[in-house]
Amino acid sequence: MSATDDYEGAASGAKSEVAQFEDHDRGFIGRFHHALHVTPALVPLIVLVSAIIVFGLLLGSKFFSPFALTLILQQVQIVGIVAAAQSLVILTAGIDLSVGAIAVISSVIMGQFTFRYGLPVEISIVCGLAFGTAIGAINGFLVAAMRLPPFIVTLGMWQIVLAANFLYSANETIRSQEIEAEAPLLQALGWKFNLGGAVFTVGVVVMVALVVILAYILRHTAWGRHVYAVGDDPEAAELSGVNVKRTLISVYATTGFICAIAGWALIGRIGSVSPTSGQLLNIESITAVVIGGISLFGGRGSILGTFFGALIVGVFTLGLRLMGADAQWTYLLIGVLIIAAVAVDQWIRRVSA
C-alpha cells in the first residue's frame, strides 16, 4: 500500500460538519419573508386580525361583540367545512368543482331516505355520508387511475350530481317543521349552546374540530406527508415509494365524505332540506383556499390558512353589511383579496428575496 493511497488520511483533513444552510442576517424584510415562507398560514392570519381590528374600530361593539363574532363562525361553517375538503384536493395540485353538488345531494339523500322511504334517520345519515364518499371516490378513481385532469372530471361530476339531485328530489323542499317533528337528528349540526354571550352551533364545533384534525393528520402522519409529496411532484413521490394512485383516490374520497358532512350541517343551518342550496359552494370554497394561501399548483400551504381564509370572507361580509355597504362591495373586495393572495404567494415563493 503506497502513501498516495492513504484515503483515511485524506478524509481527516476535510470539514467534519454536516451540510447546512447558512443563516445570514437578512434584515427585517428578510426575516419577515422567511417567517412567511415557513408558516404559510401567517399571511391570512395577519389579514384576518387586521380586518377584525379595522371593523372593530369602525363599528365598535356592534361588531366587536361575542354575538357578532360568533355569528361569523356560524355563517362560515358550511363554506369552512367544504373548504377544508377542497384544501386536501388542491394540496395534490387538483381542484374539485363538485364539492357543493356533493354536499347538496348528500343532504337531499339524508332527507329523502328518511321521509320518502321511512328509513330510521341514523341510517339515512350514514347513507348520505356513504354516498358523498362514493362520489368522491369515483372522482379520485377517474383522476388517479384513468389519468383524467381533475378540472374536467369534477366539472363533469358537478353537472351529473346536480342534475341527479334535481331529478331525484323533484326539486321539492322538505320543510323545517316536518324535520323538527319527525327527524330532529337531521338538524343536529344546527343545535346550539351558549358560552358567555357567544352562541356556538354543533356545526361550528365540527368545522373547528375538522380543521384541527386535518391539520394534525397532514403534518404528522405518513398519509398527510404523502398528500403534500403527491402535490409537489407526483413522479418524485412515486419513485420514493408513495402509492400515488391510492393517495389520490383516498384524498378525493375523504373530500366527498367531508362534503357530505357539510350537507348535514346545511340541514342544521337552514332547517329544511332544499335541493337548490349550496350552488356557489365550489367557488366559495376555492376562494377560501386561495385567500388562505394554499397554492393552486399543489404541495404548499396549510389547512389552517384555509380556515382563516373562510373567516376573512365572513368578517368582510358581516362588517360591510353592518356598515350599510351594498352587497356588491363585498364581492369587489373579495376579488381584490384573491388576486392579492396569489401575488403574496408568488412573492413568498421567491426564497431568495
Binding site: 355563517q75 323545517s176 343551518r269 332544499s274 353589511r321
Partner: protein
C-alpha cells in the same frame, strides 16, 4: 308474432304521423327558465293539460339553469323552424332575448311572455303575469293592518332577491312599502327610501341559505326587527330559522310572495303571517288558449284594463284576515298552490 308486432308498430307510426299532420296548423312552444323549479314544472303541467284538451301539439323547452339565455334562443329558433303558431316564454334575460323574439314575430308567430315581462314589455305580443307590485302591496297592507297603531314604530327588514335588482324583486319590494305606507322615493329602485322604520335591505338569492344569512345580518344591525318582508317563501323559511336561533320567532311578522305549497303550509304553521299567491298554471293554460285563438283567426290577446299586461291574478293567503284587505284562507290557498 314478431312480424305482427312490427306491423302494429308501423301502423301506429303511420297513424300518429297522420295525427301530427292534422294538428300541424296549431302547434305551440313553451320555453321556461329551468325545468326543475316547481313554479315552471306547474307551468308546464298547465300548458300540457290545456294543449291536450284543445288538440294542440306542444313542445317544451327549458334552460339548464336559471340565466341560461343561449338555450332559450336556440329553443325559439327551433320553434320557428318547426312552424309553430306561437311561443310562450319565461325569459332568463329579458332584454337580450328581444332580437330572437322579434325574429319569431316576423315569422308570424304569436309570442307571449309568461310571468316575466320582456324589456321593453311590448317586445312580446302580450304578457301573462302576476302583478308583482300588487302582490307586494297586499302583504304590505296586511302587515300594517296586523300591527295596528304599532305600525308607526315598526322595525322593518327587507330581504330582497339580488344586487342587480331584477324587476320582479323591485316590484314586490316597492309594492310592500307602498302597502305599508312608506314613501317610495324612486319606485324603480330598492333601498333608496329614508323612512327610519326600515332597518335595511339585504339580498337572499331567493333561497333558504340566503334568507337566513340576510336575516342574521339585519339582526346584527338591529336586533329589534319586528317586520320582515321576503321576496319569496324559501327566503322566508331561512329568515325564520335565523329568528328561531335567537328565540324571536314568535314576535316577528314575516310576509312573503309566491304561494308554493311549502310556503302556504308555512302560513298554516305560523312561520309566515301572510303570503301573496300567484298562479303559474293559469298563466300557461291561458297562454295556450291565446295561441289556439291566434291560430284560428289571428286574434292577439288584449291586456287587462288599465295595465300593459294581462293580469293572471294574485290572492293574499292568511289565516289571520284583517279588515280592509281581501284574503283567502289557508285551505283555499292549499287547493291552488303549486310545487
Amino acid at each position: 308474432m314478431k312480424k305482427l308486432f312490427a306491423g302494429t308498430a308501423l301502423a301506429m307510426m303511420a297513424s300518429t304521423g297522420i295525427a301530427a299532420a292534422d294538428a300541424h296548423s296549431t302547434s305551440a312552444c313553451l320555453i321556461t327558465k329551468t325545468d326543475t323549479n316547481p313554479f315552471f314544472v306547474k307551468m308546464r303541467e298547465g300548458a300540457m293539460a290545456k294543449a291536450e284538451e284543445l288538440g294542440i301539439t306542444l313542445n317544451t323547452y327549458a334552460g339548464r339553469v336559471d340565466g341560461d339565455h343561449e338555450t332559450q334562443v336556440q329553443a325559439i329558433e327551433t320553434c320557428i323552424a318547426d312552424g309553430a303558431s306561437g311561443i310562450l316564454i319565461t325569459a332568463s334575460d329579458t332584454s337580450s332575448i328581444v332580437p330572437a323574439v322579434e325574429q319569431a314575430r316576423e315569422a308570424g308567430l304569436l309570442v307571449i311572455a309568461l310571468d316575466t315581462p320582456l324589456d321593453p314589455i311590448d317586445a312580446a305580443d302580450m304578457t301573462f303575469a302576476t302583478d308583482n307590485f300588487v302582490a307586494g302591496e297586499l302583504i304590505g297592507q296586511w302587515a300594517a293592518a296586523a300591527l295596528g297603531d304599532e305600525a308607526a314604530n315598526a322595525r322593518i327588514a327587507m330581504l330582497d332577491l339580488a344586487v342587480s335588482q331584477p324587476t320582479v324583486g323591485v316590484l314586490r319590494d316597492q309594492g310592500f312599502l307602498q302597502g305599508f305606507g312608506i314613501d317610495l322615493a324612486d319606485p324603480n329602485v330598492n333601498g333608496d327610501e329614508d323612512d327610519p322604520r326600515i332597518v335595511g335591505n339585504d339580498v337572499t338569492a331567493g333561497n333558504e341559505e340566503g334568507g337566513r344569512r340576510a336575516m342574521e345580518n339585519l339582526l346584527a344591525v338591529d336586533p329589534m326587527v319586528n317586520v320582515v318582508y321576503t321576496i319569496n317563501e324559501p327566503a322566508a323559511a331561512g329568515a325564520y330559522e335565523a329568528l328561531k336561533s335567537i328565540g324571536r320567532e314568535n314576535d316577528v311578522l314575516i310576509v312573503s310572495v309566491d304561494g308554493g305549497c311549502p310556503g302556504v303550509q308555512n302560513v298554516a304553521d305560523g312561520v309566515i303571517g301572510a303570503t301573496s299567491q300567484q298562479y303559474p298554471l293559469l298563466m300557461a293554460s291561458l297562454g295556450i288558449e291565446a295561441i289556439a285563438q291566434y291560430a284560428e283567426d289571428g286574434t292577439v290577446p288584449a291586456p287587462t284594463e288599465g295595465k300593459n299586461f294581462f293580469d293572471t291574478g294574485v290572492a293574499l293567503v292568511t289565516d289571520q284576515p284583517v279588515d280592509g284587505v281581501e284574503s283567502i284562507s289557508v285551505e283555499e290557498g292549499m287547493a291552488l298552490c303549486w310545487g
